[in-house]
């Protein structure tokens, strides 16, 4: 409990410090607006609906990217798991995958899908999918052999064993993949919007930056931070429940 309070204190103190530095003019208004001002600006743009279309576009793209990454990653994980020689061949590639800056491929996606949501989703999926593949493989590896044997004892079919034993047994590991996929989808979508889009929160932030509209820019940055925090808190809550049951 004391760790938690210490953490809250540190974050609060830093926000208070920034607030103080902004209010006293140590940090000029052209560089950064005060955190309290960011909240006011955020409330303002949410009420006015000025960026509602951009916000909707971004969150839709994140949702699509997340779902695609989870489904594709899970299915690819199952296939790779069932073909050991393919797995041996792919394993080093999967392990070093995140050493590649996926964003270097953005010209390729523009050529393939044009500027817009399709390219953005493609980059986000490319970024997120491998974390789900890895999580799926990890989960399948960790199903205790004795649980599969237990399925045999209950004379369960292959499908029933998969659904009622293997899936729940891998769920805590799969969820790690889900968490990472969500995080990568956020990063992939918002970062791509800076370079690949004429809409979305990332685009709106870049646009406001270019026009020195600090109020809008910081309000949108705050929106991203708040959303990510809420989503992660929710996912961590589920994760903690699943992990608590992962025993031994």
């Amino acid at each position: 409990m004391s760790e938690k309070w210490l953490r809250i204190t540190i974050v609060t103190a830093m926000i208070a410090l920034v607030e103080l530095l902004c209010q006293t003019g140590v940090i000029p208004r052209m560089v950064m607006i005060a955190p309290s001002q960011m909240v006011v600006e955020l409330a303002h743009i949410l009420v006015s609906g000025q960026f509602s279309a951009d916000i909707a576009t971004t969150f839709t793209n994140i949702a699509i990217s997340t779902v695609l990454s989870i489904l594709l990653g899970f299915v690819a994980g199952l296939i790779i798991y069932s073909l050991p020689s393919l797995r041996d061949a792919l394993e080093p590639l999967l392990a070093s995958y995140y050493a590649v800056p996926t964003f270097v491929f953005y010209p390729v996606f523009i050529t393939l899908f044009g500027v817009g949501s399709a390219s953005i989703i493609a980059i986000a999926v490319l970024l997120a999918v491998v974390s789900m593949v890895t999580a799926t493989l990890n989960g399948l590896d960790r199903i205790p052999r004795v649980l599969r044997k237990t399925g045999q004892i209950y004379r369960m079919s292959r499908v029933k064993t998969a659904l009622l034993i293997e899936l729940p047994a891998t769920l805590p590991y799969l969820f790690t993949g889900v968490k990472l996929s969500v995080a990568y989808a956020f990063i992939g979508v918002i970062a791509s919007e800076f370079i690949l889009s004429g809409a979305g929160i990332g685009y709106a932030i870049a646009y406001a930056y270019n026009l020195f509209e600090n109020g809008h820019m910081y309000a949108l940055i705050l929106l991203v931070l708040v959303t990510v925090t809420i989503v992660n808190t929710f996912l961590n809550m589920i994760d903690r429940r699943l992990q608590a049951r992962r025993q031994r």
């Binding site: 205790p144 052999r145 004795v146 649980l147 044997k149 237990t150 045999q152 004892i153 209950y154 004379r155 369960m156 029933k160 009622l164 034993i165 729940p168 047994a169 769920l171 608590a244 049951r245 992962r246 025993q247 031994r248």
Partner: protein
């Protein structure tokens, strides 16, 4: 004084006579594993008759094929040659009426104790009222009543193994196969779990086959103990313990218990030494 002389009451049966009513039988069973560059003759040939309601234990040096023998009787892996029968029918797949408890914790971590115990009954499509009745009984019998809604992660190793035994018990098996079920538990817990097992055996009248590496466990629990040789494992001795059916862990303090254990060790020592000198341990 030799161990055999000391254990005058211990009856050694070799060769083994066929029991009057064989509940499960193995005849000429062998198991050979194909390795990349060689073949491994793991087991047999094995002949075994389990009498109905008998508590039979198998002891043997590590790697002698004890678990393979259990897998064959459970229908989890077929023998290369020979036959396995349960209640007169050849074993093909897991037979109806056979329950298995493994050494590893096989409880499902995502289900609470009650749901773990009910799992097999639900798969078998048993009537819900009957499931409740049987689960209540098994949970109570194994002393899990206060933990019925706990998850395995909240329980000790011994309690989790109770869950696995309760899960087998609700299926009302006529043959219970136990593969070193207390192997991962400490000595005191093992003795107490042994008592539970004896209680369960008396209550259900099931035939029990227990695989163990612990001589004291085999000597305390069994009606009869089969001693296996090093790989390829075959039975080299059968020892009748002559215990009353109504026994418990307190038999360990009797001289007769010492006689049985000594008798088992006399045979097993030779086999264990073979492994030691072969450098496989």
């Amino acid at each position: 004084m030799s161990a055999a002389a000391a254990g005058a009451k211990v009856v050694t049966l070799m060769p083994q006579p066929a029991p009057v009513e064989a509940h499960a039988t193995l005849r000429g069973v062998t198991r050979v594993f194909q390795l990349p560059k060689s073949t491994l003759h793991a087991l047999g040939p094995i002949d075994l008759d389990l009498a109905k309601g008998e508590f039979f234990s198998v002891v043997g040096p590590s790697g002698c094929g004890k678990s393979t023998l259990l897998d064959i009787l459970a229908g989890l892996s077929p023998p290369q040659s020979g036959t396995a029968h349960f209640e007169g029918k050849p074993v093909a797949g897991v037979p109806d009426g056979v329950g298995v408890v493994f050494q590893e914790d096989a409880s499902f971590p995502w289900l609470n104790v009650r749901d773990n115990v009910a799992f097999g009954l639900r798969r078998a499509g048993v009537d819900p009222a009957e499931i409740t009745r049987r689960v209540d009984y098994a949970v109570g019998f194994m002393g899990l009543k206060d933990f019925a809604t706990s998850f395995p992660a909240q329980l000790s190793g011994g309690m989790r193994q109770r869950v696995c035994i309760a899960r087998t018990l609700v299926l009302q098996p006529r043959l219970i196969l136990l593969d070193e079920p207390f192997g991962a538990l400490d000595q005191q817990t093992r003795l107490l779990m042994g008592d539970e097992l004896l209680r369960l055996w008396r209550e259900t009248s099931a035939t029990v086959l227990l695989i163990t590496h612990a001589l004291d466990e085999a000597a305390m629990l069994s009606d009869r103990v089969g001693v296996m040789s090093t790989r390829p494992g075959t039975f080299i001795d059968f020892v009748e313990t002559g215990w009353e059916r109504d026994r418990d862990s307190r038999v360990v303090s009797t001289p007769h218990f010492g006689d049985i254990t000594a008798r088992l060790w006399e045979k097993l020592r030779v086999e264990a030494m073979k492994i030691m000198s072969s450098g496989k341990v």
